[in-house]
Symmetry: C2
Subunit: 311 residues, 2 copies
């Protein structure tokens, strides 16, 4: 298929979906808009975990089990950094570090995150266009009983253990969409929300002024894939987070968060009973096998999604 | 011996001498003033080759043959940086990179080079006090037939191949001596110039305003060890450099460069015939085995030097 597609993507789940999507469509027509709310500085290096996860996964060099980081990576530099008393809770493999050293160096030279992301994608042979949602800093922060913490403190250091009482995206209100972001949404023939945590993976993307408006006004159909199946997140803390933030923990509850721009919502067979509730939101429910077990399964899901938005 | 000693040090030759000196004196009374003219940024990381060579050598973790870098290091990160088209002519091993990542991070946090150098030295268990000659940038540049090049371009990338027509130490005139540098020279009971390239290793140290004056005015005897033996440099391009810059390529020619503050000049037996010429400079020549083949030999040389300045 040669149609133009824009995908809003978080981390591991989105990357696995994209690995299927590129089997179904010409990657050259695919624009991936990535989450930067997870970005952090560690050891003074600028790290974009979600953009890297997409890049590594599409390049076939991601760690197959954990989803993030590089396959076959070693941790020699980080182990040695322990000599200087530096923390190691954010794991940075040697191969992975090369990306961060390169990105940090280019950013300090004055390159934008968009430019560096394109350079990194090219270095890994990606054919899709990968865009950070913004070149301006957007930082997800999370309020727990202990107070506000940076996203990776919550996600990695604290292992998503604390209950999330509030989420904010610092800098988002002043952030401008990155070059090509709104154009990709407005010019697409289909827009897809990859299966991602609706709060902390898609949330920062939607919080950048103009993105949500573009999703509402694009002539393309907007489809999403529920990351909640049978009331549970396939991966990560999305279910607990939805609950503690007062949302319904279901495929319908997530659809409600996006109802203002969503046309099609792909739900698992386990959630077929929620179809009527989703329809009431003005969203067309589509029941499919939504669990992504391998790239072939992801391609199948991508085919289903595209079939529904192109009818 | 518990006397206070200050040593002016370049890279590998100096580090090997220091490895002997710490066997002879209490390292806690030893201040090493290191050359920063070789410092560079590579991949946006701040690298202090001479300071690191001293640190690694005294910590016993230096690469035994090449002198610089870490023993048993690997080059996984740098190999991966090739993916991004980055040059690799300045070799940075994985273990070595940890030092540069730490240093760069601390400098960006606002720490001074002196502070970071002390932290790195402590992390490697050093007992000597290692001071960069200045916290301000001093950058050695070299003029060749092709024009001015950065020091490491000449030294590493071009392999010291081009003839050196002129040397300058950018920033030196505006640089202030680092904390403790002048005090170490003025308060020492002995000052030693380690065997180092007189132009590009000791030159930048002497170019920082106040250092040469302190060497002239200190009540301590100042001794040096000739890096030229039998008219040739034991290591590196010192002999060719002396020649192309119009200096006499001999142990006496080097002594002349330091004659304004030098009291004792240790020369090899091969150069005993130069004693009269050195005496005419107002410097006392001492003939000794000046080739450092191992730490025990370095200790022997250190004992000789100290014996001569403490008479």
């Amino acid at each position: 298929m040669a149609l133009k597609i824009a995908v809003l993507a978080g981390g591991v789940g989105a990357a696995r979906f994209l690995a299927g999507l590129v089997r179904v469509v010409d990657p050259a027509n695919l624009t991936v808009i990535g989450n930067t709310g997870d970005d952090l500085e560690f050891y003074g290096l600028y790290i974009s975990p979600d953009l890297d996860t997409v890049t590594y996964t599409l390049a076939g060099v991601a760690h197959p089990e954990q989803g993030w980081g590089r396959a076959g990576d070693s941790f020699r530099v980080q182990a040695e950094l322990g000599r200087f008393g530096l923390p190691a809770w954010f794991k940075l493999g040697d191969l992975d570090l090369a990306t961060h050293i390169y990105r940090s160096w280019r950013l300090r030279q004055g390159a934008t995150l968009s430019q560096v992301t394109a350079e990194v994608a090219k270095a890994f042979g990606l054919e899709v266009r990968l865009l950070p949602v913004s070149d301006d800093p957007v930082r997800t922060r999370v309020r727990t009983a202990e107070g506000w913490v940076d996203f990776q403190d919550y996600f990695v250091r604290l292992g998503t253990e604390p209950e999330v009482l509030e989420v904010r995206f610092e800098g988002a209100q002043a952030a401008r969409p990155g070059p090509g972001v709104l154009e990709a949404i407005l010019g697409a023939e289909a827009v897809v929300l990859a299966p991602s945590n609706p709060i902390i993976s898609l949330g920062p993307i939607l919080a950048v002024p103009g993105v949500r408006e573009a999703l509402r006004s694009t002539r393309a159909k907007v489809a999403g894939i529920s990351p909640i199946i049978g009331g549970r997140a396939l991966k990560g803390p999305a279910d607990r987070m939805l609950k503690s933030l007062g949302h319904e923990v279901s495929a319908a509850g997530v659809a409600r968060l996006f109802a203002d721009f969503l046309d099609v919502w792909v739900i698992d067979g386990a959630d077929a009973g929620l179809s009527a509730e989703i329809e009431k939101l003005g969203v067309r429910p589509v029941v499919a096998e939504a669990v992504i077990s391998d790239p072939e399964r992801a391609a199948e899901l991508a085919r289903t999604v595209l079939g529904e938005v192109l009818v």
